[in-house]
Amino acid sequence: MTQAATDPQSASPGGAALADRIAERLGEMVFARTDANPRRTWLSVRPERVREAVRVLWEEFDGRMATASGIDVRDGIEVQYHFSFDRANLVVTLRVLAARPETELDSVGQDLPAANWIEREMHDLLGVRFRGHPDMRRLILSDDWPEGVYPLRRDYDNANERRGPSGAMPPDEAQG
């Protein structure tokens, strides 16, 4: 398979060089950078610029969003968008903090369909609110899971929710 001369991923050899070009292009959207190794780069992005940063990675650099992950840290929920640049063997992760107490971010799923589900999941499990998400319905937790209880938060105690209320199936659900 031949690669076009304007192919953003092949224009420079190797992942490290591509990571440099991406960081340079994002400019002041990024305030910190970690290169764990030539194949893995973490860029800390200002929350108000995350939507723009994702669009740059996806549209300008042909990145493929592998997934997103959230982790409960002291100051809020740290959301990471992992982008793979397959031909350069590089994963660039955009790290953005949804600060407490609101734990809110602009939704990337409103631009990139691939982020739709994972933002719903992070909302279910970590309580991050994604502004502008086209479809913020419950995804991964049961219908009867209590609101406001986020299992992946550090202060979650799973003794209470396990059993759940037993009950009949919702009346509007069809049988297979």
Partner: protein, 402 residues
């Protein structure tokens, strides 16, 4: 005005191994929209990981999915090895590759059988699964279990394979080649299968990129991504193989990709056995330092992507698991729209959804009355009837298998 109705599939029904709830909105006999509800299989594995030591996690994670049972542990292990920066011994890489490719073979054959059933070729189902059985026996010979192999560990593999085991694996691959080629040719040459699968469930390259799909779902749309080539692990950069793609994006394209990958896997395994180096099988990693890493492998369904964060203690602080089906299934929104109902079952099956990895659920209802209109069993039957009608129309004999 054509009535808009929703088709119910689920929650439990035959031949869907997991509970799935798809909501298909149809007007007449054409699908106009779809939605999916998941949750039935959600077992909270990411939280469980943080309660296990680094070395215990692979045993949990291989139970994310029984079919991709070697993929998820290896992706997790690669993420941790990313943090450690260790070098895996060469023999261990070859042993890992053998198990991964055996997994690919058994998974693709499983899919081929089920796909055959959905379009009414039950003979294909029975024959493929008959030849799949020796693959599971080979895996048991090689790792001790038909599924859930527990073969990889951080820094290497847990168990070696002796020369006798390697010879048995080599022979099993030789024995499988003939039947697999026969099945591939029979399926790919059959004019009725062409009529049922070509131009059905098309996922364009543009949509594939928007939904960031992976695996045969992506490669069947002409997108040449494969974690074995893009982020090499195991022995993939030391043996001869190629990334298989087809440009059409329909179900037939994905079928071709899977059949060719199965035949490739036979070759990869034989090369690994032939070139198996000596030496240690374990780098002896004793401690995982603080840090974070990403690991990915090419599971049969696509890229399994794991992220791990460590704080230097003996348990992961965070373990994110992203199965390939999680990104492939939402692409139904693009590939199912405009399809005839009879083609939906094979379109849904074409991404080879592994619901345990992701868990989904779908139903359908009449939009005006809210009444149940059609079950999944009805749709499978419609699909099978369509095949019979085509066979009659084309005057073609049923598929011949030797």
């Amino acid at each position: 005005m054509v009535k808009r109705a929703m088709i119910a599939i689920g929650p439990f029904h035959p031949l869907q191994e997991e509970a799935e709830f798809f909501q298909l909105y149809v007007e007449g006999e054409t699908v106009v929209d779809m939605d999916v509800r998941i949750s039935y299989n959600h077992r909270g594995i990411e939280q469980l990981s943080t309660q296990k030591t680094f070395d215990q996690v692979p045993f949990v994670v291989e139970r994310v999915c029984g079919i991709c049972s070697a993929s998820h542990p290896l992706a997790y292990i690669r993420a941790v090895e990313d943090i450690c920066g260790c070098t895996v011994p060469e023999r261990a890489e070859y042993l890992r590759t053998i198990v991964k490719e055996l997994e690919r073979i058994h998974s693709h054959m499983l899919w081929l059988g089920l796909a055959g059933h959905f379009i009414g070729y039950n003979t294909v189902w029975m024959w493929v699964w008959k030849y799949r059985e020796p693959v599971l026996e080979t895996l048991e010979r090689a790792t001790g279990s038909r599924i859930h192999y527990a073969n990889a560990k951080i820094g290497g593999v847990r168990r070696d394979m002796d020369d006798e085991a390697l010879r048995a694996i080599d022979k099993a691959m030789d024995d499988l080649r003939g039947p697999m080629e026969m099945l591939t040719n029979a399926v790919l040459d059959d004019p009725v299968i062409h009529a049922r699968l070509k131009d059905v469930g098309i996922l364009t390259l543009e949509d594939a990129r928007k939904w960031c799909v992976t695996g045969p779902t992506a490669r069947g749309s002409g997108w040449a991504i494969d974690a074995r080539a893009d982020d090499p692990y195991g022995a993939y950069d030391r043996v001869q193989w190629q990334v298989r793609t087809r440009p059409e994006g329909d179900v037939f394209a994905k079928t071709v990709v899977r059949c060719l990958e199965t035949l490739d896997a036979l070759d990869i395994i034989k090369q690994c056995v032939r070139d198996m180096p000596g030496g240690p099988i374990d780098a002896g990693v004793e401690h995982v330092p603080a840090g974070e890493g990403c690991g990915r492998v090419e599971a049969p369904r696509g890229e399994a992507f794991h992220y791990v964060r460590s704080d230097g203690s003996n348990k992961p602080v965070r373990h994110k698991i992203r199965a390939p089906s999680y990104v492939n299934v939402p692409s139904f929104k693009a590939s199912c729209i405009g399809q005839h109902i009879a083609d939906v079952t094979i379109t849904l099956a074409s991404v080879d959804p592994c619901y345990s990895c992701t868990e989904r659920f779908a139903t359908a209802r009449d939009a005006t009355t809210g009444r149940h209109v059609m079950t999944f069993a009805d749709m499978v039957r419609m699909s099978q009837e369509r095949t019979r009608a085509l066979q009659k129309e084309m005057g073609v004999e049923p598929l011949k298998l030797e």
